[in-house]
């Protein structure tokens, strides 16, 4: 027993010696995470306290789960959780599908200059601030001067629509805007992994008489599957966080639209921006982080069950 323990230790020591350069290289990153992500985690106690600055954080009164109550107490709790989850789910599925298709298409373009141009154009929306995106959307949807109401709908002989007071269009609008904005970045990651695939696979497939579609199906997709899994797992970890800009700026913070645009983040922001209660906002952050953490563990376990190599850990 003791001997085996010793030998394990020795093995670890030898490993450490062998990889010490690599370990050294991770040091800045580790330090960053320690300072930026782990040290502030002591702040979690704030979520359980009624913070009074005169007595300091440690001296403030413990209030148990009182700071969490507002997240669950009203029927808004159901709406915001539903909105956050369903939107994010559809975003994950749609954006992944679109990004992979685009990446494959881009990879098929042989003219370098064209391929680069398309890439840049697809990525461009990702670099635009959501505030500006909100106004671009307004350019389309403005009741009196918008492109839809002034040009497009009259062209088809349709009545103008009061976009900002009809809830039924917004799930579509938000999904389209999110795809338009988010797909570019994802697409580049997939494109990079496709380019990394050894060309010999394709040559072999061609000799066997596989057509383009079969090559994509049998070679490209299976070979980038690990990347797809990782990207999806990462997205699932953030499924309880919503894109604040998308849900707050793009509908221009319109009250009437709140049943379909209110998510956990916007709810918390609206409720607490005036109250400035850091206990309650920390409670919301902790709740989102915990649920995200559990979901990552769970989905990773599922992936692991099917294919061990594709799992994150």
């Amino acid at each position: 027993m003791k001997a085996s323990k010793m030998s394990v230790l020795r093995l670890e020591m030898r490993k450490a010696k062998k990889y010490r350069m690599l370990v050294l290289m991770t040091l800045p990153g580790l330090l960053y995470f320690l300072v930026n992500n782990y040290l502030p985690m002591f702040g979690i106690v704030i979520a359980f306290k009624d913070v009074n600055f005169a007595t300091g954080i440690w001296g403030s009164e413990w209030v148990g789960f009182k700071n969490f109550e507002y997240l669950f107490k009203t029927k808004d709790a159901y709406i915001i959780t539903r909105n956050t989850l369903l939107y994010n789910l559809s975003f994950i599925v749609l954006n992944t599908a679109i990004a992979i298709s685009l990446a494959i298409l881009l990879n098929e373009i042989r003219k370098r200059i064209l391929s680069r141009t398309y890439q840049t154009l697809i990525l461009l929306p990702h670099l635009i601030s959501m505030v500006i995106v909100g106004y671009l959307v307004l350019g389309f949807l403005d009741v009196e001067k918008g492109f839809m109401n002034k040009t497009l709908l009259p062209f088809f002989g349709l009545e103008p629509i009061s976009w900002y007071s009809e809830t039924k269009y917004w799930p579509w609008i938000l999904t389209i805007v999110h795809a338009w904005k988010g797909v570019g970045q994802l697409c580049i990651i997939y494109l990079a992994s496709i380019i990394g695939i050894d060309q010999e696979y394709y040559e072999a497939a061609k000799i066997d008489g596989a057509n383009r579609w079969q090559q994509i199906q049998m070679i490209t997709i299976p070979l980038i599957a690990p990347v797809i899994t990782i990207m999806t797992l990462l997205a699932i970890g953030r499924i309880f966080y919503s894109d604040f800009g998308l849900f707050f700026q793009v509908p221009l913070n319109t009250g009437v639209l709140m049943p379909v645009t209110n998510t956990i983040d916007t709810y918390v922001y609206r409720a607490l921006v005036n109250m400035g209660d850091i206990g309650m906002s920390s409670a919301a952050g902790l709740y989102q982080a915990l649920v995200g953490f559990v979901l990552v563990l769970a989905s990773n376990a599922v992936v692991r069950k099917f294919n061990k190599d594709n799992a994150l850990f």
């Binding site: 502030p40 507002y70 107490k73 900002y164 007071s165 319109t254 009437v256 409720a271 209660d277």
Partner: protein, 512 residues
């Protein structure tokens, strides 16, 4: 953008974590006087006062580039009078809330700070300000006298649990309410402003504008509504957050839900009528353009808001158009109008008694006040007569190095010079206006929402969902108002009102 909420929270937390450590380390030395800023005692300095540096933090609309020069002039006065040098710290209003919250929760050295702006109760609840009563009694008699001459209620209004945490500046402590209209159009269409007595008299006026000026919107929102806040504050005392109000005509002490009153319903019906008639812009609910800009661009005719004896002149100056104000509701004041702008001594002030001496100067020392208000004579202003000043040759509002125009904020406005263009009788009119205003029966009551903050978080979301659309007339109140009321009940408005009533009754019993 995606992470903004979270990372802001994280930033706050880490700053807090760091600051508590710092507090722990430095508390031993914090009582020592700071001597850095006072080189060479002036001859006439009071011998019993150690030289100190006092940091004074206040909001500005735009940064004043000659602040340092003004500071040097101020120091000549303060060194002589209280043997202190002053460090002025200006923070623009847009950044104010965030920055001061961090400064107050951290260990930043501050000795005097502007409080209020809707966060006074919270900051007191968080323990960020010192109780001032003892300091006022010893070192702040001048400030107390200036305020008490007006009405002792104003100094008392900021009391929480019997203790004073802020001293209001002397300014337009009351407001009356009405409509501002563009003078050029009023003259052009010969609109008889004397005939406008109530909100219902305005349909004919708006009709004229709508028919003759197709590019001008007859009425626009002032902040977030046409006839809601701030106009509605003339009909009730919001008692802080507005969840549960005291109606103006109500002689009792009964807290009611403003949203459920017939008065509110009538305001909404009027707004809806105007919206359907095309007097309100179709995009009023989504537009974020502030009223000043719309007026400046000549796109709007009128807006409803709160007024004071000098608001007409001041607003005309801001929008670059002559405006005519027509009053529709009488002057009123309540705790809310007093505690919007005050001066407080932060928790980590090192010499609170000296902070109070400095604050006292702001109510008594004419030279000190006018340096803060208008800058240096000859450089930023010249005297026209004893009490009237103007810009020097070649200087104007946009190129002056010091023109904060905050004479209503720096202590005692009665001691501030009158700027050319202002009413020379301003002080007298202001005093009469304040004294004649109707004080809310709840003047002095400050509500503590701590025990119902869960409900308030939910209610805030309900208001966000309905108020703007209803108060711009975009949706039909007959259909949506009952829904709004129902949602408020579901979010717990009755519990909040019961709590407010309880606190108000207790306050009334204690202040008979």
């Amino acid at each position: 953008m995606k992470k903004s909420m979270k990372s802001a929270a994280m930033l706050l937390i880490s700053v807090l974590a760091a600051s508590t450590l710092v507090t722990a380390c430095s508390s031993g030395s914090s009582n020592q006087p700071n001597t850095s800023g006072a080189p060479g005692l002036s001859d006439s300095a009071k011998p019993d006062l150690e030289p100190v540096e006092l940091t004074m933090v206040f909001p500005v609309n735009t940064e004043q580039k000659d602040l340092k020069a003004v500071e040097e002039e101020i120091n000549k006065i303060t060194q002589k009078k209280i043997n202190a040098t002053v460090k002025l710290v200006q923070i623009t209003k847009g950044a104010w809330a965030q920055q001061t919250t961090l400064m107050l929760s951290g260990n930043e050295k501050m000795d005097l700070i502007v409080s209020g702006r809707g966060t006074y109760e919270q900051q007191v609840a968080k323990g960020n300000y010192l109780a001032l009563d003892d300091y006022i009694a010893k070192y702040g008699q001048g400030a107390q006298k200036a305020l008490d001459d007006l009405d002792p209620a104003y100094l008392k209004a900021s009391r929480i649990d019997g203790k004073t945490y802020g001293i209001t500046s002397i300014r337009d402590l009351a407001s009356d309410f009405g409509i501002s209209m563009r003078k050029d159009l009023v003259d052009k269409y010969k609109i008889d402003t004397n005939a406008i007595r109530s909100v219902d008299d305005l349909d004919t006026v708006f009709k004229v504008i709508k028919e003759n000026e197709p590019d001008v919107t007859p009425v626009i929102k002032f902040s977030n509504s046409i006839l809601g806040s701030p106009f509605s504050a003339g009909m009730m005392d919001p008692l802080g957050d507005g969840f549960g109000v005291l109606q103006a005509h109500n002689d009792g002490m009964k807290v009611v839900n403003w949203i459920e009153t017939p008065e509110y319903a009538k305001l909404l019906d009027t707004t809806r009528r105007w919206y359907l008639a095309g007097y309100v812009a179709k995009d009023a609910a989504t537009s974020t353009e502030i009223w000043q800009n719309l007026m400046k661009a000549g796109k709007a005719f009128s807006t409803f808001h709160h007024m004071s004896p000098f608001s007409e002149a001041a607003n005309s100056l801001t929008v670059g158009q002559d405006l005519i104000e027509v009053r529709l509701l009488p002057a009123a004041s309540g705790t809310t109008s007093v505690i919007t702008y005050m001066w407080s001594i932060p928790r980590n002030a090192q010499n609170p008694e000296r902070s109070m001496m400095l604050l006292d100067l702001m109510y008594t020392d004419k030279d000190f006040i006018n340096l803060l208000d208008w800058g240096i004579e000859g450089q930023h202003y010249v005297k026209k007569s004893d009490n009237v000043i103007d810009f020097p040759e070649g200087v104007n509002a946009s190129n002056s190095g010091y023109y904060p125009y905050e004479n209503w904020l720096f202590g005692n406005m009665f001691l501030s010079y009158v700027f050319n263009g202002e009413d020379p009788d301003r002080n007298q009119k202001l005093e009469e206006f304040i004294k004649n205003s109707k004080k809310s029966k709840a003047m002095g009551f400050i509500y503590n929402p701590e025990s119902v903050k869960t409900e308030i978080a939910a209610l805030t979301n309900v208001v966000n969902q309905y108020a703007l659309a209803l108060e711009t007339g975009t949706v039909d109140p007959a259909k949506v108002l009952p829904e709004y009321i129902k949602q408020m009940k579901a979010a717990g408005i009755d519990k909040v009102i019961a709590e407010k009533q309880k606190q108000l009754d207790a306050w009334a019993a204690a202040n008979k």
